[in-house]
């Protein structure tokens, strides 16, 4: 067990030994030079589409993101989730479900625009072949077997169902 690292050999050892040299000491501390803000209260960003707001807030925040407004079924589920507080599973579980629904909607949207998603490329699997050939080949074989199993199972089930009941 090497317990033998001498602090004198460590570059910069103890440079911030004194708590006063540490930038976040004490934790609550108003900087003399200010924070860069030159307002008492920030101006409000204009809301151009639905932005979901936590019910633990009385009003919208001064700024917010404008990425992907809620839409479709996933959007409806998200709106439902925002009826509940951040303290409730009623908020977080629907949001996780909405995320999965959104993924399906994403694929449908791609197809609608005539784009078949290249899942192999989107999952970055080229690098799996490059750096982890063995596991990549194994995964592909398992995948192929499973894909192969679908038509087999289908034929089997059809035959079974086709059998006359007597």
């Amino acid at each position: 067990m090497n317990h033998e690292i001498r602090t004198s050999e460590v570059k910069g050892w103890g440079a911030d030994k004194n708590p006063l040299d540490r930038p976040a000491y004490p934790m609550w501390h108003q900087p003399e030079e200010g924070t860069g803000a030159h307002w008492i209260e920030p101006e409000k960003q204009e809301m151009k589409f639905t932005v979901l707001k936590s019910i633990e807030r009385p009003a919208m925040t001064s700024a917010f993101g404008t990425s992907v407004p809620p839409s479709g079924l996933s959007g409806a589920i998200r709106k439902f989730a925002f009826k509940y507080s951040e303290s409730s599973f009623g908020h977080w579980i629907p949001l996780l479900i909405a995320d999965r629904v959104d993924m399906v909607e994403g694929v449908l949207d791609d197809l609608k625009h005539g784009h078949i998603p290249n899942v192999f490329k989107e999952m970055g699997l080229k690098s799996e072949f490059k750096y982890n050939r063995k596991s990549a080949i194994k995964k592909t074989m398992v995948g192929a077997l499973m894909l192969g199993a679908v038509p087999l199972l289908y034929t089997y089930l059809r035959r079974k169902h086709a059998r006359p009941i007597n």
């Binding site: 570059k11 911030d16 609550w28 860069g36 960003q45 917010f64 992907v68 977080w92 080229k126 799996e128």
Partner: protein, 384 residues
């Protein structure tokens, strides 16, 4: 512009999107020069963060050049080279006034517990991130920091998150001269936490991970001890044994919600999502710290709840401190450390990948292929 586009768990691609607009008088538009993939992005990529919408652009660690400023921006001008802390902060709420920039209350309508983070789901404000050619930067007078001329861009981009986060992890541990510090996780955050523990005067620094190549790296980079928990029957007993059976003064969790090492925690936390991630690193931290010691958590967890040994924490009288890093606050001092040659953050960068190949970049980092530690995405304009 070219931008990363999230399509669902484990699926991302590079697509053309419209360039962002000024939405608020204190916005700036930045042309991105470097952006990183972070361990935090993996939680999004794996579908663990609620309200991660398909079509979002990730990326909260980036540098760039100011392209356009809103009408009220005073501290930045077009052409300035800046590094942008991952926290979006208004500069004037109670928390920002006190430099808790990671806890700003004015930038995330979707949640009150979390502040605003670029490209980090609608649970963190619904902002598009910097894994793109351009990005909207709100409160441009507060967050962005002009890059000093002698600072390398690759060092600068690591100041937007992982170096300050690792430093703050050690700082929240209240490391004193003579302390023994154990760090769980030898990813970028853990690596910087290890180096920072020395800067604060630790006498012994021990790092735990499961990946030998990362352990080898941290041993060299941070001149510390490093051990693989896969080779231990019980990591807590191992750590007690090498610390005179008392445990460490400070334990740091630099792993977060996808921690390996416990089938039960992985099943309930990652697979079934009955808890907000696997909390085995916190469990080990609580159980391997000395009585009266400090556990410092920077690993990221979901919003619901986790299985941790609270009883042991109470009985041992330990202090648990944790937060999102307040990046802006740390910058001047950490830049001094770089300029004084005490640390060279960019040494952790193992991969530079064109933004077009973002899907491969995520897969390599996520699956820890090709000895990956830190990945930088380079936009087309910067490929020379």
């Amino acid at each position: 512009m070219l931008a990363m586009d999230y399509r669902g768990p484990y699926r991302v691609r590079a697509v053309q999107k419209s360039t962002p607009d000024i939405e608020h008088p204190n916005d700036a538009i930045i042309r991105v020069t470097r952006s990183c993939i972070c361990g935090s992005d993996l939680h999004l990529y794996h579908g663990l963060v609620p309200d991660t919408r398909v079509g979002t652009t990730f990326g909260h660690e980036f540098t760039g050049v100011v392209e356009e400023v809103g009408s009220s921006v005073q501290n930045l001008k077009v052409g300035d080279h800046v590094l942008v802390p991952f926290n979006i902060s208004c500069g004037s709420c109670l928390y920002c006034q006190n430099q808790l920039y990671g806890n700003c209350h004015e930038v995330n309508p979707g949640a009150t517990a979390v502040g605003g983070i670029y490209g980090y789901s609608h649970t963190a404000g619904g902002y598009d991130g910097g894994q793109a050619e351009y990005v909207r930067v709100p409160f441009a007078d507060v967050g962005p920091y002009k890059i000093p001329h002698d600072l390398d861009l690759d060092d600068a981009v690591l100041l937007t998150d992982v170096f300050p986060t690792g430093y703050q992890a050690a700082e929240m541990g209240g490391v004193k001269e003579g302390d023994t510090v154990i760090i769980f996780g030898a990813g970028p955050v853990g690596i910087f936490a290890a180096k920072s523990a020395w800067l604060l005067g630790a006498s012994r620094v021990i790092v735990i991970d499961q990946l030998d190549y990362r352990l080898e790296f941290v041993k060299r980079f941070a001149q510390c001890e490093a051990y693989n928990f896969r080779e231990m029957e019980d990591p807590v007993v191992f750590l007690k044994k090498i610390t005179d059976w008392q445990g460490a003064d400070v334990c740091i969790d630099a792993v977060g919600a996808e921690a390996a090492g416990s089938a039960m925690q992985r099943l309930t936390g990652v697979k079934l999502k009955w808890q907000a991630g696997s909390a085995i690193a916190v469990q080990w931290a609580i159980n391997s710290v000395k009585k009266g010691g400090v556990v410092s958590i920077v690993g990221v967890y979901g919003p619901t709840g986790n299985l941790i040994p609270l009883g042991n924490a109470v009985n041992k009288g330990i202090t648990i401190r944790m937060n999102q890093a307040s990046v802006k606050r740390h910058l001047p001092r950490l830049i001094e450390h770089i300029q004084a040659g005490r640390i060279k953050p960019s040494e952790i960068i193992t991969h530079k990948i064109p933004l077009e190949e973002v899907a491969e970049a995520y897969h390599i980092f996520s699956s820890k292929l090709d000895n990956c530690i830190k990945t930088i995405l380079v936009p087309p304009s910067e490929m020379h």
